[in-house]
């Protein structure tokens, strides 16, 4: 479903990688590896279409993501370094607003349920600025609970999470793969994803 051919990435004056390609099918996880500065985040941003590649092409369902970008974006869920939550809003409001803006239907009950699953029960109505680093990350991750789009792109999703939350998230990702979803992910922590095929891609 997701294919990349001959990608090249140049940042500043450095060529980070060239001639890079991969293919990913339903139910598969692409696990990007590489030391700090290898270009993982850059590659992810190419995949989601925010960073135009120097050379090469990325295709989703056989179509270039440049050309069919709205269709592609309707199938995509991205989670970056940044949490994309508003400090002034409560976790519940954040979750509803982000679903709203991404044109997804999410009922308030579903949202409350998702927040409970990420362990924020009792804090639904506290403005996010009062949450700890890990709790903020959990609000961002709550989006994934009800997310049914096929392609997930996750940039270091485990950062700042405690052990219990890491396990929970690994479970969520493998659930997605089992449902036939695709995922692209980077992380420096070693986390086993209990289901699905894992392809590794090492940048260096």
């Amino acid at each position: 479903m997701l294919e990349a051919d001959n990608l090249e990435c140049v940042r500043g004056e450095r060529r980070l990688f060239a001639g890079l390609g991969f293919k990913l099918e339903a139910g598969e996880l692409l696990y990007l590896q590489g030391r700090n500065g290898a270009g993982k985040t850059s590659l992810l941003r190419m995949i989601i279409g925010l960073l135009p590649p120097e050379a090469g092409e990325i295709r989703w369902k056989g179509q270039s993501i440049r050309r069919n970008s709205e269709d592609f974006r309707a199938d995509l869920c991205y989670l970056g370094h940044l949490n994309a939550i508003k400090e002034e809003l409560t976790p519940l409001e954040n979750l509803l607003a982000s679903a709203h803006l991404a044109d997804e239907a999410l009922s308030e009950d579903d949202a409350l349920d998702a927040l409970e699953q990420v362990g924020l029960a009792g804090r639904e109505d506290l403005a996010c600025k009062y949450l700890s680093q890990g709790q903020k990350r959990r609000v961002a991750l709550a989006r994934l609970v009800k997310e049914r789009r096929p392609l997930w792109v996750l940039d270091e999703p485990f950062v700042a999470l405690d052990v219990a939350a890491v396990d929970w998230l690994a479970g969520i990702i493998s659930g997605h793969l089992q449902r036939g979803g695709l995922a692209v992910m980077t992380t420096h922590q070693l986390v086993a994803i209990p289901a699905g095929t894992v392809r590794e891609l090492k940048l260096s």
């Binding site: 989601i48 279409g49 925010l50 960073l51 135009p52 709205e70 269709d71 974006r73 309707a74 995509l76 991205y78 970056g80 370094h81 940044l82 949490n83 994309a84 939550i85 508003k86 400090e87 002034e88 809003l89 409001e93 607003a97 982000s98 709203h100 803006l101 991404a102 044109d103 403005a127």
Partner: protein, 222 residues
């Protein structure tokens, strides 16, 4: 299409309400700047009456401009802007919503309080009416043009001042016709011509600015 615009407006207004300070303070800035001038210039009422339209418009312009840097900066910093750019509809629509919300928060209140301030500068009934109408018609253009500047300077350190550098020259026509409308009315020439020019600028900028801003935002996100 309208749905997404309303969703954005709703969210931005909720954020503005949550911060409270936002709405009240933009207004206060306007009021304070307007009151500063007599301080620097002296209290002669005749002089003040002459200055009124110019001072009010410059203050409105600065008040709008002051709130511009945050138009996209907050969304950029916390990653929401990426998410908006990745949503499955054109980014221009989202920006349209943000521009409208910005006007509701920063332009509309100015128009509502302008008559009160105008009275203090000894403006007459007609002049007051045209002043309000001009501000009401002109401020959306300020928000629209400002959005382009805000998008272009997004993420640049020192962007706030750079932004004013880009935007102020483009604001000048609005200023001239806005103040001109009041002047013309006060001197009995009738300000309709000026007002319809203001309206034209507002429509043009509301139609065009969101798409230019969206393009600039995509560049900022690369």
């Amino acid at each position: 299409m309208l749905k997404i615009i309303f969703a954005v407006i709703g969210r931005d207004l909720k954020l503005a309400m949550r911060r409270q300070a936002d709405i009240v303070s933009a207004l206060f800035f306007f009021v304070i700047v307007v009151s500063l001038f007599p301080l620097g210039i002296g209290p002669e009422p005749d002089l003040l009456r002459k200055l009124a339209p110019g001072v009010l418009w410059v203050a409105a312009l600065l008040a709008t401009m002051l709130s511009l840097p945050r138009l996209f900066a907050d969304d950029h910093r916390d990653g929401t802007l990426e998410q908006l750019a990745l949503a499955p509809h054109p980014l221009g629509l989202v920006v349209t919503g943000k521009v409208i919300a910005h006007w509701l928060v920063s332009g509309l209140p100015l128009a509502l309080i302008a008559p009160v301030l105008g009275v203090q500068f000894d403006l007459t009934g007609d002049g007051l009416f045209v002043l309000t109408a001009a501000i009401l018609l002109g401020t959306p253009a300020l928000s629209g043009i400002g959005a382009i500047g805000a998008a272009l300077t997004l993420g640049l350190r020192g962007g706030g001042v750079l932004l004013s550098l880009l935007v102020l020259p483009l604001y000048i026509p609005v200023l001239i016709f806005g103040a001109g409308a009041v002047d013309a009315t006060v001197s009995g020439l009738g300000g309709e011509g000026h007002l319809s020019l203001l309206a034209a600028m507002t429509f043009a900028s509301l139609g065009f600015a969101p798409w230019a801003s969206a393009a600039a935002l995509k560049i900022a996100l690369e």
